[in-house]
């Protein structure tokens, strides 16, 4: 099971802060996970639509969509950061 976290506007839009997901065999990268979540439809397809700026972290490090994921990973999706 992959632990998936959502932050800020994404968390509000999706109505949840985290969940555990059993990865389907075809989902081997974070980019593929984003597409998989989009396929849930409704707010999910809107939140993860192409062109929406979504940043991704695997095990607390920002990564590119091609980054592979395994079942023990923590994956976080969030909007571009606005601290400071």
């Amino acid at each position: 099971m992959v632990r998936v976290l959502y932050f800020a506007r994404l968390r509000e839009l999706l109505g949840r802060a985290s969940e555990s997901i059993e990865l389907p065999p075809e989902v081997s990268t974070v980019g593929a996970l984003r597409t998989y979540l989009m396929s849930r439809g409704g707010v999910w397809s809107d939140a993860f639509a192409e062109g929406r700026a979504v940043r991704i972290a695997v095990n607390q490090e920002m990564v590119q969509p091609a980054t592979p994921i395994g079942s023990d990973d923590e994956v976080a999706f969030f909007p571009p950061v606005t601290g400071g």
């Binding site: 932050f7 607390q60 490090e61 969030f78 950061v81 606005t82 601290g83 400071g84």
Partner: protein, 168 residues
């Protein structure tokens, strides 16, 4: 050893500078940046601001940025404190202190840490305005400010690779 603290409570820049300088007579420069909460943004009056973060990632991300700065410039140490939770205009948000031998490197390292924090550290601001709550959008100018350091590094790299100028 760099210090990173994420906290709700306010900070005292004097205390933090004294702590960084303690027992270090070789320090000749202290560069600081303090980000504070404004009462306006994008044409609206801001009543309060709430800062959310990704706890297990935040400290790690900032330590990595400081680590890069300590390698790139001749500076000795740094402290970053970032507040989270609800803040009001006039309150302090973020502190960066860098100490080193001389001002040039201390200034540059301080600005670098702040520019990267703006684009890499997982914080998000939500404002309460007269028109209701809204999430603050990331600014393209922040990405440009961070990218500038990569361009600087690329130029430095190219210059280092150039053969020395022959003088007649």
């Amino acid at each position: 050893m760099p210090t990173v603290r994420i906290q709700q409570e306010d900070f005292d820049v004097g205390v933090e500078i004294a702590r960084l300088r303690a027992g270090r007579p070789e320090i000749g420069a202290v560069a600081t940046f303090i980000g504070v909460c404004r009462d306006r943004n994008d044409g609206a009056t801001v009543a309060t601001m709430t800062l959310e973060h990704y706890p297990s990632m935040t400290e790690k991300a900032i330590l990595s940025i400081i680590g890069d700065a300590l390698i790139r410039w001749k500076v000795d140490d740094a402290t970053v404190i970032h507040r989270v939770g609800e803040l009001r205009p006039m309150e302090q948000i973020v502190l960066v202190v860098v100490v080193g031998g001389h001002r040039g490197d201390a200034f540059a390292a301080c600005e670098f840490i702040m520019d990267y924090l703006k684009t890499q550290a997982p914080f998000w601001k939500k404002e309460q305005t007269a028109n209701g709550p809204r999430w603050v959008d990331a600014r393209a100018t922040d990405d440009e400010a961070a990218a500038r350091w990569q361009a600087d590094a690329a130029v430095a790299q190219r210059n280092a690779e150039k053969p020395p100028i022959q003088r007649g």
